[in-house]
Structure formats: structure tokens, C-alpha cells
Symmetry: C2
Subunit: 321 residues, 2 copies
């Protein structure tokens, strides 16, 4: 088995906790470093192994990620835990590589307008920088995996409609450049399940055995339907955050990331193994509530509890169907 | 075209507003009769044509439905509007027929235990009563459609697992007895999309052209994923309530019905025509808030707004995919 398949097993569904990165972009009171560690340890105990731990951004402007090296180091010490850090540019990637993080996650937008708005450079400049990141990895000590997320893959709040061909062409280019993982993001929650099924099916063909994932937002209530559509088309890596932590800058009252514990229930209800104990996962919400008391947590399973028919952690309801 | 197909067009998706029945079972302050009329008129103006208007239950014990005849009469006067009333027993069905309502909706549970708990009689007794309802219709002046909903079709909070064969056998029996519409209900929100796809596909075969629908709850966050799965297997009748009004008696903190306006967005995003204007629908939430200020309304589209790529009322995003 190659290294990427060992980290992202093709035989189970990988749930990536992105709350420590995407979830912290809009919170009013930041969690303490110890709080972050308790959060990670709690989810780890519940079976989560993949964490996006923060962004390498200027620490004075982005205090949410000022402790990122300590958080990376903490996560590295948990057996089989896989930490990733987002890097918006070459400087960030250099810092990420120096940190010893297991995966550097680069970003590019499907649309020129959003790439400019988000990263303040053209898509071509971002592609050039990502090429430098790959080159830089060759000389790095830790040789992290490099994943690339394509923002606004399902529609753009600035440019409107995004053609699937536009996203797929970018994915091909990134795979040819050497990306280990490609992720397509519904950054502003525009997608519906038919669209998700269509694009992920095409991406699966292109990826040709390389892992690929989806980063979905529940901004318009389609999160779980979109996740189900992605699973149906062979996606085995899905981003989510505990309690759906993380809003949407483009729609301040709306929710952001899809809810991790509900997503785990979705997976189990369709017979996918995630390795996650949902009841233990729900308990970790208490850490978030105590660290960030003003943040509203989302999620239905946490309120309603598991069905009496559920076995909590594995192929719960396939025997019914 | 036969009468049922005129009411439940096979060429579009019918969204049934059940908030006036299912939604009112747990509210603390009831809406006024005028408030109900404004609610119906508002949704009608937004394109909704199918309403479940209440239950025929003893008026002294169930004040939520004390004005049901007036509400039925009001709805009958809206061109092409189709009102249904739930009837838990023969006496209720007789009252429903006398009211002139366009459809009588009977209920039975997939499990013996829930039928006893909900209707205080055996399933066989309920089947016998439903047979009498069909016989009674023959002599009735208005000859309403008769629909039957099968509660707990996806799992039961009392009996646990429900075998699909159990539900399908009941559906066959009801269709043979003369049911015009069969609806399968995820009464306590236990279903996942794989289970929904499996059962609705089988029901479609059995229904053999007769309309069939799903009544889904969002109790465990799977509502939209389940609705997408049902649509994918040919379901063209879905129940929902504006703002997701209606809790779950079995899980008091949890949400109940799936959110009508989010469901309309789901349908449009997958290219299904519903005839609904989502922005107009969202405005009707104000009536619910003013009539029932203590009720929490759910829904993502109402908070986030439609995507800039959406055309609001028809096959919005199919051009993307």
C-alpha cells in the first residue's frame, strides 16, 4: 500500500475535522491552546484521526492560529493522527514544512475573481506558487503530503455560475503538478446534490485512484444531502466540524461547515465505516461550549440522540435495507 | 388524465404543507383562525397548492384543530388548492367526509406497538376501520381522495428495527383496499438516505403508477439527504412545513418536519419544478412568527438567502451541471 492510501484508507470514510481551522475564522472568543488540545484529544478518543489544525498566516493579524506549531506538535504525538495545515502562499508553505506538519493544504479558487479576493493574486500566480511548494517539498526534511483545495467549485458568490469543466481542468493541472489529494469546496454553500454527484463522479475518473475529497458547507441546508451524494459517487474523504463550528463570511447569520457528528451518523446509516463513536464525539461539544461560550453549535444528533436501532459506530442500519 | 394525476401531477414535485396539522401538535400558543388563513393564503401565493389542514379529533381535547371546518372551507375556495385532513379513526373520517375536504388522510403504523400507542387499537382494527372508510366514501357526497400514511416505516422508537417487507406488505394491502395515495413516514427521524432510497424504490414498483409520497422528519439531521434520496427514486410527493414547524414528541429538543423552503431549494437545485417561489415562501415565515412568537423556526435558506446563481423558482442550477 502506498503512503497516501495508508493515511487516507480507500476502504473506509475519512472524516476530517476542520473546526480548528475553518471553524475559528469567525469566532468572537478564541479557544485557549489547552482548550484546542482537549478538543483534539477528545475527538481522537472518539475515533477521529484527521485534523486540519490551522493556517500559516501572519500571527499578529490572525491570532486564532498563533499557536499552530504547538498544536501540530501535540497532534503529531497521537498515534496515527494526521494533522494538516492550510497554507495560503509560499511563505506559509515554507513555515508549514518547517513545522513538521504531516500535510500541507494549499488553496486555489475555481474563479479568478474569488482567487483575487481571497488570496490577492491571480490564479496563475497561485498555480506558480503551488509549483514552488512542490519543489520546496523535495528538499524538506519531513516530506509532507500536499493537498490542494479548489474553492468555489460549485458556484461563486462573486462570479456566479462555475462550469464543472473549469474545476476539472484545474484538478487535472494540480494532479499533474503532483498533488497528493484534491479537494473540491462548496465554499459558500451553493451546491445541490445533483451537482455534487455530477462533479464528484467526474473528479473520481480524473483522480484515477488518488484520494479526493469534498469540503461542504451547510449554509443553505444542503450539507447532508450533498455529503450523501458525494459518498454515492465514491468520495471517501469529507470535511466537517464538530457542532458545525464556523459561520459563513458571505452570510453572517448562516451556518458554515457541515456537522461532524451528523455526518458520522449519515455514514453509518449507509453502511460506511468511519471508526467514529458518535456518542463520544457528542461529549466533546462540551469542550467547545466551555472554550467558546458565545458560539452557537449546530447539529441534530446531539439534540435528538441516536435511534434505538443504531449501533453507534459501524454499519448501523444496513441490516434494515 | 385521471383525477389523482390531476391533483398530484406526475410531471412535477408536489410539496405538501403539513405545518397546519403536524406542525401544531407541539406548539405552546396556537395560531388564530385568521392567522391560519393568512398562512395558507401566503403559501398559496408563493405557489404551494397542497395543504394538510388539521386532524379530525375531539375538539375539546385538541383545540389546535377546533376550526378545521372553517380552514377546509377557506382552502376549498382557493383555485386548484388541495386540502387534506388527517383522520385517526372512523368517526374522524365521517366528520372529514361531511366537511367536504378534498382528501382524507388515514394513518396506520408499520409496527403493532406504535399503532397501539398512537391509535389505541391493533393494526388489524385500524385496517378494518380504513376498509369502512373506503365503504363510507362510496355513499359520501364529495367523494374525497383517500390517502394512507404508514407511520414508523423506517424504524420505530418502541419496537426498533422495521423490516422493509413489513412496510411493503402493508402498502400492498392498502393499495388493494383502494388507497389513492400511499405515504411512508419516518415518524421519529431514524432513516438515512440509503434506507430511504431502498424502500421508496420498492414502493414505486408496488404503487404501479399510483401516487406515493414520503413524510420525513429532520430529527437527526438527515431530512434533506433523505428527501434527495426519495426524489432520486421517483418520489414526487413530499411533506414539509414552513420553517420546519413541529417538534418531535419523542425528542423534545429536536426539530420535526423538514423545512419547506429548504426542500424547495433542494428540488430546484436538482432541476425539479415545484411551482414555488422561494423568496415569497420565506416572507410567509413572518406570519408564523407573529402568530406563534415562542416557536423556533428552522431553515437555512431563510437565513442565508438564495445563491446569486439561483433563478428562485425553477430548474435553477441544472445549467451548471
Amino acid at each position: 500500500m502506498n503512503r497516501t492510501d495508508m493515511i487516507y484508507s480507500p476502504n473506509k470514510v475519512t472524516l476530517r475535522e476542520v473546526g480548528l481551522r475553518d471553524g475559528l475564522q469567525m469566532v468572537s472568543v478564541l479557544p485557549s491552546t489547552d482548550g484546542k488540545k482537549a478538543w483534539i484529544a477528545g475527538e481522537y478518543a472518539a475515533g477521529i484521526r484527521h485534523f486540519e489544525l490551522g493556517s500559516f498566516l501572519p500571527k499578529n493579524k490572525y491570532p486564532a492560529f498563533a499557536d499552530i506549531e504547538e498544536i501540530i506538535s501535540f497532534t503529531s504525538n497521537l498515534p496515527d493522527a494526521h494533522g494538516a495545515a492550510l497554507s495560503p502562499n509560499l511563505r506559509g508553505s515554507e513555515m508549514a514544512m518547517a513545522s513538521g506538519v504531516a500535510e500541507v493544504h494549499c488553496v486555489i479558487s475555481a474563479t479568478e475573481a474569488h482567487n483575487q479576493a481571497n488570496l490577492r493574486r491571480s490564479r496563475q500566480q497561485t498555480l506558480d506558487e503551488i509549483a514552488e511548494v512542490f519543489a520546496f517539498r523535495e528538499q524538506s526534511q519531513h516530506q509532507p503530503l500536499i493537498g490542494v483545495g479548489i474553492a468555489m467549485s460549485f458556484g461563486c458568490s462573486i462570479s456566479g455560475t462555475v462550469e464543472p469543466e473549469q474545476v476539472l481542468a484545474l484538478a487535472v493541472q494540480l494532479l499533474e503538478m503532483g498533488a497528493d489529494i484534491i479537494s473540491i469546496a462548496d465554499t459558500v454553500g451553493y451546491a445541490g446534490p445533483t451537482q455534487v454527484a455530477h462533479l464528484t463522479a467526474k473528479l473520481r475518473e480524473l483522480a484515477d485512484g488518488k484520494p479526493f475529497g469534498v469540503h461542504l458547507h451547510d449554509t443553505r441546508g444542503m450539507g447532508m444531502a450533498n455529503a450523501a451524494a458525494a459518498l454515492g459517487e465514491g468520495v471517501r474523504i469529507l470535511d466537517a466540524s464538530l457542532g458545525g463550528l464556523g459561520g459563513c463570511p458571505a452570510a453572517p447569520r448562516a451556518s458554515g461547515n457541515i456537522v461532524m457528528e451528523d455526518l458520522a451518523f449519515l455514514c453509518h446509516s449507509s453502511g460506511f465505516d468511519t471508526g467514529v463513536d458518535i456518542e463520544k464525539l457528542i461529549e466533546v461539544r462540551n469542550i467547545l461550549t466551555s472554550e467558546m461560550p458565545s458560539e452557537k453549535l449546530h447539529g441534530a444528533i446531539a439534540q435528538a440522540g441516536l435511534p434505538v436501532t443504531s449501533n453507534n459506530s459501524a454499519e448501523s442500519m444496513m441490516q434494515n435495507s
